[in-house]
């Protein structure tokens, strides 16, 4: 069985390893109506989805994972199906988080 993650990512992108940037620290507060996250490096606050919070938690706990590995771990953690949470949405999420400097990607 495949989750399609390796097929959908381009060759170069699938080799990228994701980390929390040096000096970055993320603080989460979980509420009934959402998760609030503090970016200690910049001092900004974000309302994040469960998917984004779990993705960040995975990357923080295990630096250097590929997008595919993050995706597989994420499906496991939030008990989602590939149909409900396509790999493409996680790739997009990772780049959005990278735009905010909450994660960084580097070649292995």
């Amino acid at each position: 069985m495949t989750d399609g993650s390796d097929d959908e990512a381009t060759g170069a992108e699938s080799a990228l390893r994701w980390r929390i940037p040096a000096g970055q620290r993320l603080v989460f507060e979980d509420f009934d109506d959402g998760i609030v996250m503090f970016d200690a490096l910049v001092g900004s606050t974000h309302l994040v989805s469960v998917t984004a919070a779990e993705t960040l938690a995975i990357i923080e706990a295990t630096p250097g994972l590929t997008a595919g590995a993050i995706y597989r771990e994420l499906l496991d953690r939030i008990e989602a199906t590939e149909a409900a949470l396509p790999f493409a949405s996680i790739r997009e999420l990772l780049w959005q988080l990278e735009n905010l400097n909450l994660v960084a990607a580097a070649a292995a």
């Binding site: 507060e29 009934d32 109506d33 200690a40 001092g43 900004s44 309302l47």
Partner: protein
């Protein structure tokens, strides 16, 4: 000794000489000015404030100095803080509003060991209601009217959150009323002392309501937040209470603070503490009595689970 215990000419003499030092917790403010009209207004509005010794250390040293008018309209006054003049001069007739606004400005720039919300705060039975709002939303009028019903006023302008205790600290000053709210409060609380109306200031017509003696006397007593009410006055409209979830409350509260980015992570923790211990809503109101009833109902719900 309270300022009201001094004779008016003594207050004017002190202000014109060594300065009048007032304890306005968490600060002591010394003001110097030769303007007799300003001295009389300060005397009336700060009547219940404690006077410090002339030699006492003051956190803020303010001079309200007459200056030659540079525009048509006559004499002007300059707000001088530690020798600097951060603002353009005002007409001398607007010295008191300038003193009040200047003091607010200084205060916001010197309190970065606290999270500073742009909010009115009142307290009753040990439970504080924080009312974050931007100018014109009715927070001063609502907090003043609650004070006139027996609530303790902590501030009509600043929600000062101690980063050490997460409790709200008072900064009890005259309540700044603007435009229509001046008439509303004169009618609502005819026995309350409201100073002269300053017409045509940069913020419209302005008057100041003297805080209750109890509020001033308890000016060093911090309070615990129990409710966060985002006030939105809509003339003539019925009251509407829109409950807010905690994450939404968190973001609105953080966005309301003057210095959230400056304070950094302790500010995040302070907003979190307030959010978790408070019920929260947006309160749209057109009548004070409706707003009072809504706040009573909100507090009856108790703290957030």
């Amino acid at each position: 000794m309270t300022l009201g215990a001094l004779a008016a000419d003594d207050v004017a003499r002190r202000m014109a000489g060594q300065g009048l030092a007032l304890r306005l917790p968490p600060m002591t403010v010394r003001v110097r000015s030769p303007l007799a009209s300003l001295a009389a207004q300060v005397h009336a509005l700060y009547a219940d404030a404690e006077v410090a010794d002339a030699s006492a250390y003051a956190d803020i040293e303010v001079r309200m100095l007459p200056v030659r008018g540079t525009r048509a309209g006559g004499a002007q006054v300059q707000f001088v803080i530690d020798g600097a003049t951060p603002f353009d001069a005002f007409p001398v007739a607007h010295a008191l509003p300038m003193f009040e606004w200047g003091l607010n400005w200084v205060f916001t720039h010197r309190m970065n060991d606290h999270l500073m919300l742009h909010a009115a705060v009142v307290e009753r039975d040990g439970r504080a209601v924080v009312m974050p709002a931007w100018p014109g939303s009715g927070k001063s009028t609502l907090s003043a009217s609650l004070m006139c019903r027996g609530w303790r006023l902590l501030s009509d302008e600043f929600g000062i959150v101690s980063l050490a205790t997460m409790r709200l600290r008072p900064f009890v000053r005259p309540v700044g009323l603007k435009n229509a709210s001046i008439g509303v409060m004169r009618a609502y609380a005819p026995d309350a002392f409201i100073g002269p109306t300053f017409e045509g200031t940069r913020k419209g017509d302005v008057a100041h309501l003297r805080p209750s003696a109890d509020s001033v006397a308890r000016g060093a007593d911090a309070a615990e937040a129990a409710a966060i009410v985002f006030v939105d006055f809509r003339a003539g409209e019925p009251v509407e209470v829109q409950p807010l979830g905690p994450a939404t409350t968190f973001l609105k509260l953080a966005g309301n603070a003057f210095n959230y980015e400056v304070v950094g992570e302790p500010g995040f923790r302070a907003v979190n503490a307030l959010t978790r211990r408070s019920v929260a809503c947006i309160l749209r109101y057109g009548e004070l009595a409706d707003a009072h009833a809504a706040i009573d109902t909100l507090l009856a719900q108790g703290p957030r689970a």
